[in-house]
Symmetry: C2
Subunit: 555 residues, 2 copies
């Protein structure tokens, strides 16, 4: 059965019953249909004095076309922990609507380890992304309106730093000239749209502690600069209050369920390149108050996702992760070991062994954050025992343990070993989380630290304009911010074809951007696309409601 | 107390109880929070064989700055009918989000005759407009994508007839050049955005009978023309199926409640100028299956709103309205009689009497549709008895009746007389609804018929390009469509300053547009703005969440 077939057969419980498992009274659970709900702000506030559960991160090796199953393992581990008697919730990101009309949409998880309802999660869900689009574009409209009515703030229209967004793959909007048509329509200028997940408002919603913090951060967004290069903020445009109103409901975390009827928080979905790629802080902190264990994940491989999870999200939200699961697959190890995708079906223990270099470097890196790690081998039916053993042996040589997981095929029953291992790590009390670099390290030095410690680059390459820009931001009071790396997810280097654990490379910085509201400096290394296009034959062409009322073509 | 204060004090019942009044089982009521719900498609289908209730239209004189209270009377009459023992539901439109950030948002109704929850209805509500925005813009993205990948359909990029939409007042987007930035971003062309309520997709959603009809109509949208001027449809772009998927949930009518806990359908909100300005057909037909009486309204005054309700909505959906309430106020009559807004507080029976010419013409017009009418005088505290009597006398001279209504101050208790009168009209069985013109009348003749019969123009003025265009559409098979008039709502003429019942005018046609999916020809007479701008000091500047968690500045 395909993921969607399994999802449609799910024996879903009313969302009130799922909330009940976490002790959420039904008046504080705002339903969206019968299988989705938001948790009220008031209830979340009432939890403040409660102790926190244990936070577990699921991360992965560098992704390959073979797939690694990070979300599947997050869902599976959540179900597994529940199955061994630990009250557990998972926290994952929401999906973006637009890309589903280009390529087929995806499950949240796979096989027997999925979150449902799958269709809703790939479409409008509870409207959070639409609210973010509205809030983002309100500021853009108010900005152009300010200029139209006299530009009292003296914004230089050549230096506007704020684009519009749409949750759509629409290359036609990447670069536009707006305000055309004469006096009544404003001053013509260059502009453009990003996809909603790339919005700074999205990153802000995901990092804000509560509504007040949200409003404050929205006010901190830099919309442009004057001729003297001084910044103009959303606060100066007086858009922050109305943006917060538009986001009030979107700030409430969404509750859904796994196929095994365990609670799943699905909330927020910032880009994992120009933003930090984790679900919302509010979802994670709320889950920690309501469950004994919280399993969450971060975008891309551990070099990007885990690093940002630790250095941005955990640092800023005061989270203390206590264990990490590093997901690997035999197939991905083979690809890292040089095997082509078409040859993955053939047993190749040597290739697995060679590919483990990538796994090894991630494992080594994770130690630098002070959180104990275990490797979860996400089992595929084609994997041979010898191949699995090769990974286990390699990991054992690194002083860690790799556990085989069959949750894709068997649900919680297939992942109890990993669940027990995670409990052992947590209860062992060895975790002593610390970010990779201190707040007060100079910005360029922060980038260099990540490049050398995580990517194992020899050095970084940044021209004087970039160095000067970073210095300027330090003088402007932004020196304490963490850096948010935007590079390819396929390699430790900036070259997506270099798998394994490459050495002898350097990290070239192409551009730096200040996300003053989100609270990080984006460091762009290589091409980053913030508005995708549709392919020659978009999947939308085959999407329709069939005779049975089901959606065809979306998956 | 202000409307919002009254609304916040409302003693709301759980939406399941409201659905229960109409016999909707809770599994078919998809909740959005505790006070809003959508009614499932499956349940709506199950109602097909049930008899229909009685349909009552609330319309009004030409609006004046004094306000006439059409929605307030719709809500009040619904409560009044319920109070006299008739199982009644009301059907009104959803509000557009964007404009609330320019001018203050509005209540649905006013005083003691309101629909709640007011904040939600002015913000994201159940996400319908966001879904319409997504569906609309998906087609736009697929259109540009088709051209990008080779333009197999040979669309002339100078003749693209489909714009993008956003639910925002954003004049900067009225006219743009898109696809800039080189080969990877497409072929530069002129484009622009309308506000979402002006989308043809909105009109389609409001006129479609069900999901299949919706999909068919979406496919009929004309996106542009080839060099030989042949039309290219959304169906050719293969966007119709995916658009219907995005709109599947938005097609389900929304249920909320009045302050007196009576059911209110709030669904769809097409522009009342370039579209027909009524709530969705699905909401009205569903309400008619579930209630004995259904009270609905149409946008603007009766010259535009009622005419389109009858000639477009009722004609196409096979609805048979049985009574009309024409709302008038003493203050609006005074303004029609020449009194300035600042002088409305002073008694002026003569001015009331003079202004009644406007009322009289609407009353006369309504008879042409074969539906019996009663005038509802929406009482203001400053109205004097003599002024009210002047309206009553005038209406009696026309052979009709005017009933004083105090629902604004007293709720249902204040409008029982009107409710009884409406029941009398309906039970009298005098209604014999017929549209103003037959389907097979030539298009220009349809416009002329409305101009002469309703507006009392001497003639219409249309240059040869407009006449030729209409003939071309007749040859193309669109001759049977109704016409959708877009003119000022403030006058029977195209001059907004000419109040009362002007004579000796003609109707100049500036432009005609084909909405092939919605199924009407738009006839534009005068300036029509499809993308508003924000004012110098947008209301958004004062909108925020206050210390008590309530929204300030929105109302």
């Amino acid at each position: 059965m395909s993921d969607i077939e399994i999802a449609r057969k799910a024996n879903k419980k009313p969302i009130q019953e799922i909330g009940d498992k976490l002790g959420i009274p039904s008046e504080h659970l705002l339903p969206f249909g019968h299988d989705k709900a938001k948790i009220s702000e008031e209830f979340i506030k009432s939890l403040e004095s409660k102790p926190n559960g244990h936070l577990v991160l699921v991360t992965a090796i560098n992704p390959t076309p073979a797939g690694e199953g990070k979300t599947t393992t997050t869902v599976g581990l959540g179900d597994g922990l529940n199955a061994i008697g630990k009250k557990t919730a998972i926290c994952i990101r929401e999906a973006s609507l637009g890309p589903n009309f280009g390529m087929k949409g995806g499950a949240a998880g796979g096989g027997q380890s999925q979150v449902v309802p799958m269709e809703d999660m790939n479409l409008h869900f509870t409207g959070d992304f639409h609210a973010i689009t509205s809030a983002h574009n309100l500021l853009a409209a108010m900005l152009d309106n300010h200029i139209y009515w006299g530009n009292e703030l003296e914004i230089d229209i050549r230096r506007i730093a704020y684009r519009r967004v749409m949750d759509m793959n629409d290359r036609a909007l990447r670069q536009i000239v707006c305000n055309l048509g004469g006096v009544a329509n404003g001053f013509p200028r260059e502009a453009g749209f990003d996809i909603t997940v790339a919005s700074e408002v999205m990153a802000i919603l995901c990092l804000a502690k509560d509504l007040r913090d949200l409003e404050k951060r929205l006010g901190d967004i830099i919309v442009g600069y004057r001729r003297d290069k001084s910044a103009v903020y959303a606060r100066d445009i007086k858009a922050d209050g109305a943006m917060a109103v538009l986001l009030q409901q979107a700030m409430q975390p969404n509750l859904v369920q796994t196929l095994e009827n365990n609670p799943a928080f699905v909330h927020g979905g910032p880009f994992a390149n120009i933003a930090h790629g984790c679900n919302s802080v509010v979802a994670t902190t709320t889950a920690l108050k309501l469950a004994d264990y919280v399993v969450t994940e971060a975008g891309f491989g551990a070099d990007l996702g885990a690093e940002k999870f630790f250095d941005i999200k955990c640092r800023k939200a005061g989270l203390k992760p206590e264990a990490v699961v590093l997901v690997a697959t035999v197939r991905a190890m083979k690809m890292n070991g040089g095997v082509k995708k078409d040859d993955l079906g053939t047993e190749n223990v040597d290739a697995v062994r060679n590919g483990c270099a990538n796994l090894g470097q991630h494992l080594e890196n994770l130690k630098k954050f002070g959180v104990p790690a275990v490797v979860g081998i996400n089992h595929f039916v084609s994997d041979t025992d010898a191949e699995v053993q090769a990974i286990k042996d390699f990991v054992a040589e690194q002083g860690a343990e790799a556990v085989l997981c069959k949750h894709w095929a068997k649900g919680s029953e297939g992942i109890k070993d990993l669940a027990n291992k995670v409990v052992e790590l947590v209860e062992g009390g060895k975790a002593d989380f610390k970010p990779l670099y201190p707040d007060d390290m100079p910005l360029l030095k922060k980038v260099e630290t990540i490049a050398k410690e995580i990517y194992r680059a020899d050095d970084i390459v940044a021209d004087s304009s970039i160095r000067n820009q970073l210095k300027q931001w330090e003088e402007d009071g932004y020196g304490n911010l963490p850096v948010c790396m935007a590079k390819t997810q396929y390699s430790f280097t900036t070259d997506p074809t270099r798998r394994g654990a490459p050495r002898g490379h350097s990290l070239p910085i192409r551009e730096v951007r200040l996300s003053a509201g989100a609270g990080f400096i984006v460091v762009i290394c290589g091409e980053i696309m913030t508005m995708p296009g549709l392919p020659r034959k978009p999947s939308a062409e085959n999407i329709r409601i069939n005779e049975e009322g089901l959606i065809d073509g979306l998956f």
